[in-house]
């Protein structure tokens, strides 16, 4: 009875073990989740991201493949047809007609920059979009600013990109 018993106690060790195993499990999950995020991002970003003026010009922006095209919705060009929305997107002097199957969500409207996912239809010369995202610019303007000033700024924004 002279030496102290220093062996781990059976009722204490399972709890200690569980506490140490959890971080390893979490770490494994983190690695898996990171892999999923990267593969998801890479697989959904395969469509080339082109500005309107780069279509057919820049390498990768060929009309024979799926593209994501960025441009500003042309003023007065939005037409709601049956089951589709027609509009022009413009960027840096170039313009393109878009036929989007459905009604664009978000804050879609004239003069806002958008990204349209889809394919180019050679016969009609239209870009057939199946997804429209509103790309918000980094400009924030209060709604209660002078209305006239706002209208001017609005048309100026449209003019500059048209």
């Amino acid at each position: 009875m002279s030496t102290p018993d220093l062996t781990p106690r059976p009722e204490q060790s399972p709890k200690r073990q569980r506490r140490r195993i959890m971080p390893a499990v979490v770490l494994a999950l983190v690695v898996v989740a990171g892999g999923v995020v990267i593969t998801q991002a890479l697989s959904t970003a395969v469509d080339y991201y082109c500005n309107v003026d780069e279509v057919g010009e820049r390498s990768g922006c060929d009309t024979g493949r799926r593209l994501r095209i960025q441009g500003t919705v042309g003023e007065g060009t939005v037409v709601a047809a049956t089951g589709a929305t027609l509009f022009d997107i413009r960027f840096n002097g170039a313009s393109m007609k878009v036929e989007y199957a459905g009604e664009p969500g978000g804050i879609f409207k004239e003069c806002l920059p958008v990204v349209v996912h889809g394919v180019f239809d050679e016969s009609s010369g239209m870009f057939l979009g199946d997804r429209v995202e509103v790309k918000h610019s980094e400009d924030y303007v209060a709604v209660n600013d002078d209305r006239l000033e706002e209208a001017e700024a609005d048309s100026a924004a449209c003019d500059s990109s048209a």
């Binding site: 009875m1 140490r20 770490l27 983190v30 995020v37 995202e133 790309k135 709604v143």
Partner: protein, 256 residues
């Protein structure tokens, strides 16, 4: 299972982790968060294009600011631990506390950003450069916290996590400039951009400023309290071990 509290506990024991300084910071934080609610939801104007959705910015941007700040503090404290002569354990605890706070606010950033995206882009989530790198940053720091809890001696764990803390912070500039590096749906930085031309309405900018000040104070408060909690966890782990040893000796009939 539960050990009796050591009989040496003095009657002058003060509850909790507060000091006069943290109380002052706490009161200021509450006041500023109150103002954030008032400015963000009531006084600031709606945006011309986004409408009222712009109000989400006043919690989204300060949250991500706090998370960035927290991860930078983690990296700095990790460097102090790793390269300092004393390999300060206090620095390691500050790093851990800061990362915990950062992860919480990264989660808030992601959720509020998703709600904002649903209104303005029409989708909750996009695998675009900014969103993807932000998700990776969030996941990385969950990994960092897991590394902190891995098996090993206290100094081993501190050293390991310091290395991870220094590596993970490299993602922060990657996230911030991802909108410039890759074409992205996410707008570019409005306030912390490279040019100083801030394109933000006066009251909107002020609301954002209130949010950033409130969240910086909140970070300071949380960091002080959180690192004190971690100090006590380390202390109780040590004293717990001592107490257990003393108990075994007593059972074995050996008087220490």
């Amino acid at each position: 299972m539960t050990l009796d509290p050591p009989s040496t506990v003095s009657t002058t024991s003060r509850r909790g982790t507060a000091t006069a300084a943290t109380r002052a910071v706490g009161v200021l934080t509450i006041v500023m968060i109150g103002w954030l609610g008032v400015f963000g939801l009531l006084l600031s104007p709606a945006d011309r294009d986004q409408g009222d959705a712009v109000r989400i910015m006043y919690v989204h941007v300060p949250s991500v600011w706090l998370a960035y700040l927290a991860f930078i503090v983690t990296a700095l404290a990790s460097a102090v631990h790793l390269f300092g002569k004393s390999h300060s354990m206090q620095a390691d605890r500050v790093a851990g506390a800061s990362a915990e706070i950062g992860v919480v606010f990264m989660a808030v950033t992601l959720v509020t950003g998703m709600l904002w995206g649903r209104i303005t882009w029409g989708v909750y989530w996009q695998w675009d450069a900014r969103l993807t790198t932000t998700a990776l940053l969030f996941i990385s720091y969950i990994g960092y916290l897991a590394v902190r809890g891995l098996e090993g001696s206290r100094s081993q764990r501190a050293r390991r996590s310091a290395i991870v803390g220094l590596l993970a912070v490299l993602e922060v500039p990657l996230v911030h400039w991802s909108v410039k590096l890759w074409r992205s749906l996410h707008q570019e930085a409005t306030v912390l951009g490279t040019d100083l031309d801030v394109s933000l309405d006066g009251l909107m900018l002020f609301s954002l400023f209130v949010g950033v000040v409130a969240f910086t104070l909140l970070f300071l408060w949380l960091l002080l309290h959180r690192s004190r909690v971690l100090t006590m966890i380390d202390l109780s782990a040590e004293t717990g071990l001592d107490a257990a040893l003393a108990q075994r000796r007593a059972e074995g009939g050996v008087t220490a």
